[in-house]
Amino acid sequence: MNKIAPLNDYTAYPDRSGRFGDYGGRYVPETLMPLVHELEAAFRAAIADPAFRGELDGYLTHYVGRPSPLYFAERLTRKFGGAKVYLKREELNHTGAHKINNCMGQILLAMRMGKTRIIAETGAGQHGVATATVCARFGLPCVVYMGAVDVERQKPNVFRMNLLGAKVEAVTSGSSTLKDAMNEALRDWVTNVHDTYYLIGSAAGPHPYPEMVREFQAVMGREAREQILQVEGRLPDAVVACVGGGSNAIGMFHPFLNDEGVRLIGVEASGDGMDTERHAAAINGGRPGVLHGNRTYLIQDPVGQITEAHSISAGLDYPGIGPEHAFLHDVGRAEYLTCTDREALDAFQLCAELEGIIPALETSHALARLPEICAELGPEGIIVVNLSGRGDKDVNTVAQALGRSI
């Protein structure tokens, strides 16, 4: 029998103008438009070039440590008493998170384009560390913009970036968190158009970044798909990931988009709760608008001013979400749940105690929704969770939240 083509080809996006349905696009100042076009052309040429792919694969294998394992979390599974939980172990990558998959792809692209200076924004510092790492490896100067609030709560990562030779610029405008760091990085890019490559860390920003970051992160989903087929002989019932800007989630989701039997579940940070104003859930608590180069769901006030996001996790503390998630939400292909600070803290501890894995606070948001999803799918079910990063960077924050001193 012929395989029937899926009714919707969810992988056909973005279109040529960088749109995922109503979302995405290139909402940047004219000064940056030629650069954004140049970047898109360079990206297309690179991924069509077997030499580029070969080089990237080489570094992913020998420097990043790919493929990452898909690990059956036996004790978490038993604890939740439902579906089997598999963890995609991105925290085992060099630098401790999925962020480096994207950084490796983009730094090779930047060098191919002849760029000699790298800038990045960071929230938790994981993307900053990953960027600083690849810049050290390839000998490029690196400036990382980081909100002053985040500099304070992610001190170990600031020190790591400094050790790696990067300059960390503390951003004090606006709410002094990730969105402001991104504003400042864009201002730097507008000012230094000739030599500078902006290495965006999530599946956000103007086209082609959402597509490009997805492409470099989709290695996770491709591996996970193969690995689960190998161990279980079938596809999972659900793939779960936390969502800040959305890179670890879209990288996992994308290779499963046309597997319509696989539920795709993103978890947004709801901070103090969705009944308060202190959250970072763009889809669950926002509405469409334009920020940082794309149209997407945003947390904003009734007249279109962006409001401060709040999450205990610096990497999720962002008022927007990548445009492809906005699209997948609207068409109903993916579901977006929420998780509070408190629930994330509990999941953080549970994963450490039962599996001997200290997850990032970002990742803990995905783990926190497992009890319900496991119960819903039942013992026959299979879930793959993106263990997007390790939590060493968060121990100060967690200790403080638990009222302990270290």
């Binding site: 909402y27 004219e30 438009m33």
Partner: protein, 277 residues
């Protein structure tokens, strides 16, 4: 009416043989009442066209002066609607000076482009500059503005090459704003020598007057640019006067208008020697 107001103003400037002076102020900065007083004083102080910024929380092409102006305005409750009210109040006393709103896309998304364009036309706005809506994304906005006969003013920049220029000037009217430096507002200084050929290029491609801004702070620079461009835009330097007056506890309106008068004088007289007028 609206496009006509901009066209009439540039026709008059051409007849007078001088460059126009375009002043930028932020709506609601430092507070709504003072902003209206400044706005009402601008034409007499020498402003030929007026840009009114509507504040946005995340102005990614602005340097510190205008970022802070936006924060001051937002802190005083300024909104897009109140910006339109401000323009409407100004229009009751001045029917001739073109007013162009300048800002970012997101505040326009809430009312939607069509409703916004209607309200803007009613308030007496003549044109719109949206920093983060490049030509590739502009068609829906251009349609809405066309329906109300409002100009969509485009930005051309040092990175806009000859191949791209036709894309940039498509569906534009009124004038083209040439951003004289690659950078944010209020930081780098324009180099008139480097700007001159670009002004020619943009004028030729668009058939429209070219206003130059982003790097003009001093009377000297304003005069230089006035010799080569159809209009000179000053923003951050005026917004800085607001901040300085606040810090020194001085009369904000007086200080801004004094600065405007000084800059206007150097713009108005810049071409005089060579023209022998």
């Amino acid at each position: 009416m609206s496009r006509a107001r901009i066209d009439a103003r540039f026709a008059r400037l051409r007849a007078e043989g001088r460059a126009g002076f375009v002043t930028y102020i932020m709506a609601g900065d430092p507070d709504p009442e003072t902003a209206l007083a400044i706005l009402e004083g601008l034409p007499a102080a020498g402003a030929d066209l007026i840009e009114v910024g509507f504040p946005f929380s995340d102005p990614l092409a602005e340097g510190p002066p205008i970022q802070r102006a936006a924060q001051r305005a937002l802190g005083r409750g300024m909104t897009l609607q109140k910006t339109l009210d401000l323009v409407a109040a100004f229009r009751r006393k001045d029917a001739e000076t073109p007013v162009i709103l300048m800002g970012y896309a997101n505040p326009l998304e809430t009312p939607g482009y069509v409703a916004f364009a209607r309200a803007a036309a009613e308030a007496g706005v003549d044109g719109l500059i949206v920093v983060d809506i490049p030509p590739e994304e502009a068609d829906p906005l251009a349609d809405a503005l066309d329906a109300e006969d409002l100009s969509l003013i485009r930005l051309a920049t040092p990175t806009t090459d000859d191949r791209r220029l036709p894309v940039v000037v498509r569906r534009t009217s009124g004038f083209v704003y040439y951003v004289s430096v690659a950078g944010v507002t209020g930081v780098k200084e324009a180099d008139a020598g480097a700007v001159a050929p670009n002004v020619e290029r943009v004028r030729a491609a668009s058939g429209l007057p070219v206003a130059v801004g982003f790097g003009v702070r001093t009377e000297e620079r304003a005069a230089e640019v006035a010799r080569i461009a159809d209009a000179v835009v000053v923003g951050s330097a005026l917004v800085d006067e607001v901040a300085d007056a606040l810090a020194a506890n001085e009369d904000v309106t007086g200080r801004v208008l004094t600065k405007v008068a000084a800059l206007a004088k150097s713009v108005r007289t810049a071409r005089t020697p060579s023209r022998g007028a």
